[in-house]
């Protein structure tokens, strides 16, 4: 299949999945997930010490996905590296054949498993986007000429359910201004709210070729749905979905969560609400092909 960028440029309804590198050297499960998904989605995000929990690096895993014929989306946060480290890793990414970069601030170390670590945050996500664009144009951040420029397709994130939403939309505008090519949103569950967000986002990106993908995290159970609502910033699971999950036996809730995800994918695609979806199953990647099949977008 073609690349994530090609799919975006072609105006397809673009689907990406996500790979979480292991905490340790046992890559068996991860490689299984990569093999299972690489031909079913246009791009595969690789998380970067997700939730500030130390894991295998997204750079090496992204490189491995390239080697296996998939198209990785290299997630890069500003938490662990200063501007030298970030740019050096971006050049390394180019060397490994990685072309998609998702620029993130990164969770604060205190929410992770190395709570005493110093958070770097020398750049913010807007600077990181700008930096990728500069490297694409042939210079480093300081304007020093690069011997060979990069060719990154640069992504960013936005949280449609942020409360309050206004500061979030201003940040979104800065990311667009910085040159982001695509956005993947924080997980959304309320399709009405998301449609309203998209109306505003479309207005703000009018005249650009910016693509916006809805983030979908599969609900795996009622407890998990309630937890997301309670504990994860920027995530809102509406009552109707909680009731839907509660309406089936515990053993059936994962299936219900998959149905909901598939329904949302179908809805977003058929109504052309956004340009694609980013499907996250957080460790349960085995279910993603089934969800895509249920949504009628298998091997999209």
């Amino acid at each position: 299949m073609g690349t994530y960028r090609d799919a975006c440029k072609a105006g397809d309804f673009v689907i990406s999945g996500e790979i979480g590198p292991p905490k340790g050297t046992n890559v068996e499960t991860m490689l299984h997930h990569i093999e299972m998904l690489k031909d079913k989605v246009a791009g595969l995000n690789v998380t970067d010490n997700q939730s500030a929990v130390m894991r295998m690096g997204s750079l090496a895993v992204s490189g491995e996905i390239v080697r296996r014929g998939g198209d990785p989306i290299f997630q890069t946060t500003c938490r662990d590296r200063n501007r030298l480290g970030l740019q050096s890793d971006l050049l390394s990414a180019a060397f490994l054949g990685i072309t998609n970069v998702l620029c993130l601030t990164g969770d604060h170390p205190v929410v992770g498993d190395h709570k005493q670590a110093k958070g770097v945050f020398d750049f913010d996500s807007v600077h990181l986007i700008q930096c990728c664009k500069k490297m694409n144009a042939g210079t480093d951040w300081e304007g020093n000429e690069l011997e060979g420029k990069t060719d990154f397709f640069v992504g960013a994130v936005v949280t449609p359910e942020a409360d309050p939403i206004e500061p979030q939309m201003y940040k979104f505008a800065r990311k667009v201004e910085a040159g982001a090519d695509f956005f993947q949103t924080q997980a959304v569950y309320d399709m009405d709210n998301f449609q309203r967000f998209m109306e505003e986002a479309r207005e703000m990106t009018a005249g650009t070729d910016v693509k916006i993908m809805a983030g979908l995290v599969v609900l795996t159970g009622l407890g998990m749905a309630k937890y997301m609502n309670r504990a994860v910033p920027g995530i809102f699971v509406p009552d109707a979905l909680l009731e839907e999950m509660a309406g089936v036996e515990k053993e059936q809730q994962l299936q219900k969560g998959m149905e909901i995800a598939a329904r949302h994918i179908r809805f977003l695609k058929e109504n052309k609400v956004c340009d694609g979806v980013h499907v996250m199953a957080i460790g349960k990647e085995d279910i993603v092909p089934d969800i895509l099949a249920m949504a009628g977008v298998a091997g999209a």
Binding site: R83, H108, V110, D122, D124, S125, D163, P167, Q168
Partner: protein, 225 residues
């Protein structure tokens, strides 16, 4: 105001192991206000050290603990007493402790943990609003410093950790970016929210900072040379 906290007594005892005669130095400025190194705290420390068998040969609360000339003068004036000390226990911030360092070659022990440059909201209620980054940018942010008050020091808007106006790092703490946006709205300067800010120059002040000003021609900023 430099906000400090008392070190656990056990830690101080450990640091003073092998030292019998102790001089205790407090500070008449910040450590007095934060109740960590004023007259009552110095007296309390004297009692506690004596209770475990130490001999306190000298106590003083110097006017300004970080004023090196002051500290040197005080120690010189009380030479007879302080010379008997095996160690100095300093109840102040690290600047005060190192002012004592500059005044003696004896064992110098910190009695407090320095925390931050703080504003006093009310008695014994302190909050950090400035982190001495070397180049003040807060006019663009409604005079609310994102470098300090956002735990990530973000300059171009909130992260995804904003949670109902609170911060992912501490659910009791307001998201600095929500405060900034509200403030700019109140001032009618919403246009400031459209600025794209460059990353900070973290070497405006090379650590350790030093500034010598003796006249218009003789200004030096940055690290000691």
């Amino acid at each position: 105001m430099i906000i400090s906290q008392k070190k656990p007594f056990e830690e101080i005892v450990e640091d003073l192991e092998g030292d019998t005669r102790i001089a205790i130095i407090g500070c008449g400025e910040c450590a007095t206000v934060t109740h960590t190194g004023g007259e009552p705290e110095v007296a309390e420390m004297k009692e506690k050290l004596e209770a475990i068998g130490k001999e306190v040969v000298y106590t003083d609360v110097v006017h300004t603990g970080c004023h090196e000339l002051d500290v040197k003068r005080v120690l010189r004036q009380n030479k007879q007493l302080v010379e008997q000390a095996d160690a100095f226990l300093v109840l102040s911030c690290g600047a005060g402790t190192q002012a004592v360092r500059a005044a003696t070659d004896k064992h110098v022990v910190p009695g407090c943990d320095p925390l931050f440059l703080g504003n006093i909201q009310r008695s014994m209620d302190f909050i950090e609003k400035c982190s001495h980054c070397g180049a003040c940018v807060i006019d663009d942010y409604g005079a609310i410093c994102p470098v300090t008050r956002c735990p990530k020091g973000l300059l171009n808007g909130p992260c995804g950790g904003t949670n109902h106006g609170k911060c992912e790092v501490d659910p009791e703490m307001d998201c600095a970016w929500v405060l900034i946006h509200e403030q700019l709205k109140k001032e009618g300067r919403e246009d400031k929210r459209n600025l794209l800010h460059a990353p900070k120059d973290w070497n405006v002040i090379r650590r350790p900072g030093a500034l010598v000003e003796r006249g218009p021609e003789k200004q030096k900023m940055g690290s000691e040379q």
